[in-house]
């Protein structure tokens, strides 16, 4: 018999039952949360008691949690249990300021692995697949997050890591890779390496499924990837604060991403008023974890803009779908799978006496490769007519930004006074990318 679901009882659970499960899990989550220094204080101030929650709508009475809260309570302020119980942490990049860190106990890791396995399963990955995970391992959640999910699912995992395209192609050919995870812009680049090697992925590999995400891309870019490789490409959504991958995933119909409502309580709010918006309207995605013990998060503002797709999916799953992320309610951007806040770059420039504090970031696609161009002004009184001094300044700024955001920028020195001066809300980032995929 063909198996259609990873966990049928949960995936097609009637919505009334699903809501009941959410209330139970929300109570449990609040119970855990109350043991962390941060939420303990908040709950006491606002007189919040887990037992009083009888309906998911009561979530609206609880306060939001923001990235700022995470940073201010770094590192252990959200921890609900002794460190002895914690088995892993994942963290955002950054060498200045406090990174965003999330802690997991064994239960959390098992639950996460199961969600990733379920996500891969609905995208059609089976235990007979050979799955190549083309992304960075380490603190970044895409590496280990997918790794544990692939293993849970039972597919043969190839923990390939990021980059080195020739080796990626060799692995695909040596072991007959059938499924892979990568960021979409990388797949455009990888295809060029296939071409340069005189290979056609449609004929020369056994690839059939790509899991893509972690980076904004359009449906046309997805279709282009599918054509280039002769695969089905599935969009996915996740963020470190919500474990990482496995929060929401496309099923075979590729029409929006099912967000796992047994593990995540979803709200879409107007980012200005913070009032809930009706299903179908765009707003900021706010998520409450429902199955995390070590570090639950209540009404976490993801800053991602999306909407709930109102209709039931043809696949029969009752978990609602979110649409492609259309933007952010803050100024964060994603390049090469890394989250970058302009403030991080500003912070670096402020410490370099040779350059001014004005800057402009342009994201563009050059030779099929996404680039972050950072323009900075050379201070007039520092200029000495020496090319080597300017070149070494360029190198130094490049290295400092790369260390901070993990993406190597193309630093371009410009004349003093030539960049637009900030007036009110300055536009610091211009995005001209096409996802690294030639049209």
């Amino acid at each position: 018999m063909k198996r259609e679901y990873w966990q049928e009882e949960l995936e097609v659970l009637h919505r009334n039952e699903l809501k009941k499960l959410q209330v139970e899990r929300l109570q449990a989550t609040l119970g855990h949360a109350g043991r962390s220094p941060f939420y303990n204080k908040v709950f006491q101030q606002k007189n919040i008691k887990a037992d009083n929650i009888k309906d998911v709508e009561q979530i609206w009475d609880l306060p939001f949690t923001t990235k700022q809260d995470l940073r201010e309570n770094f590192p252990y302020g959200f921890l609900t249990m002794p460190k002895k119980e914690i088995v892993r942490l994942h963290s955002s990049s950054g060498t200045t300021g406090n990174p965003t860190v999330v802690f997991h106990n064994r239960h959390d890791l098992d639950s996460w692995a199961n969600l990733v396995a379920r996500s891969l399963f609905i995208a059609g990955v089976r235990d007979t697949d050979v799955f190549q995970n083309i992304c960075g391992y380490g603190l970044f959640t895409g590496g280990l997050g997918f790794q544990y999910g692939i293993e849970k699912l039972g597919a043969l995992s190839i923990p390939a890591g990021a980059g080195n395209s020739l080796r990626q192609i060799k692995l695909m050919r040596d072991y007959g890779t059938t499924a892979a995870h990568a960021i979409p812009s990388y797949l455009g680049r990888l295809y060029e390496v296939f071409e340069a090697e005189g290979l056609d992925p449609k004929k020369d590999t056994q690839l059939r499924i790509f899991v893509i995400g972690a980076e904004p891309h359009t449906d046309e870019q997805r279709r282009r990837i599918e054509e280039m490789y002769g695969v089905k490409a599935y969009n996915s959504f996740g963020l470190t604060e919500m474990n990482g991958p496995g929060v929401a995933f496309e099923c075979e119909y590729q029409d929006g991403m099912h967000i796992w409502e047994d593990a995540y309580l979803v709200e879409i709010v107007n980012p200005d008023t913070l009032e809930p918006v009706p299903d179908g309207d765009y707003g900021e995605l706010v998520i409450t974890t429902l199955d995390r013990q070590a570090m639950p998060l209540i009404r976490y503002r993801t800053r991602d803009i999306t909407r709930i797709i109102p209709d039931r999916c043809k696949c029969g799953r009752t978990h609602r779908r979110i649409d492609r992320i259309t933007g952010r309610s803050d100024d964060m951007f994603i390049i090469k799978g890394c989250n970058v806040f302009p403030m991080q770059i500003e912070g670096i420039l402020l410490k370099i006496p040779e350059v001014g504090s004005d800057y402009m970031i342009t994201l563009e696609t050059m030779n099929g490769n996404d680039e972050m161009v950072v323009e900075v002004e050379v201070k007039k009184d520092w200029f000495r007519g020496d090319i080597r001094r300017l070149e070494s300044l360029t190198r130094s700024i490049t290295a400092q930004i790369r260390d901070e955001v993990l993406v190597k920028p193309a630093v371009k020195l410009v004349e003093a006074g030539s960049l637009p001066k900030p007036e009110g809300k300055a536009v610091r980032v211009i995005d001209l990318r096409n996802g690294g995929i030639k049209n």
Partner: protein, 143 residues
Amino acid sequence: MAFTLSVFLENKITRFEEVTASLRSERINIRSLSLTGMPHGWGILNLLVDQPERAYKLLSDKGNSVSMEEVIAVAMEDEAGGLDEMLLKIAKAGIHVENAYTRLIAEKNIAVLLLVVQDFIEAKKRLEANHVVVLDDKIVYGK
């Protein structure tokens, strides 16, 4: 003693002309120039002009990043082998040249070699010890 100017230029269509327009408006004459480094998206324009101090103030006031450097000017024969002959003497004097450019003075039938060096005073001493005449700035500027 002569001075050259260096101007930091972005690689934009109009920028080079803006500099020359400023100099033109003040009737400052450019005697020689070189432009380097444009592949970076920026470059350095080295200018030899007849009134360097005025040009420096003018360009600086107009918001340019500009610096003024002392260069050594020596005379070469304007004929085949003239530069090589001079470089032999410079090498013998043990001078490390950081940058160089040339200017022809047709009426006097000489070519001027302008050298950017690290230690101007030391270089001048060594050249004179090797019987190389360091030119007066008036000749260099062509006044």
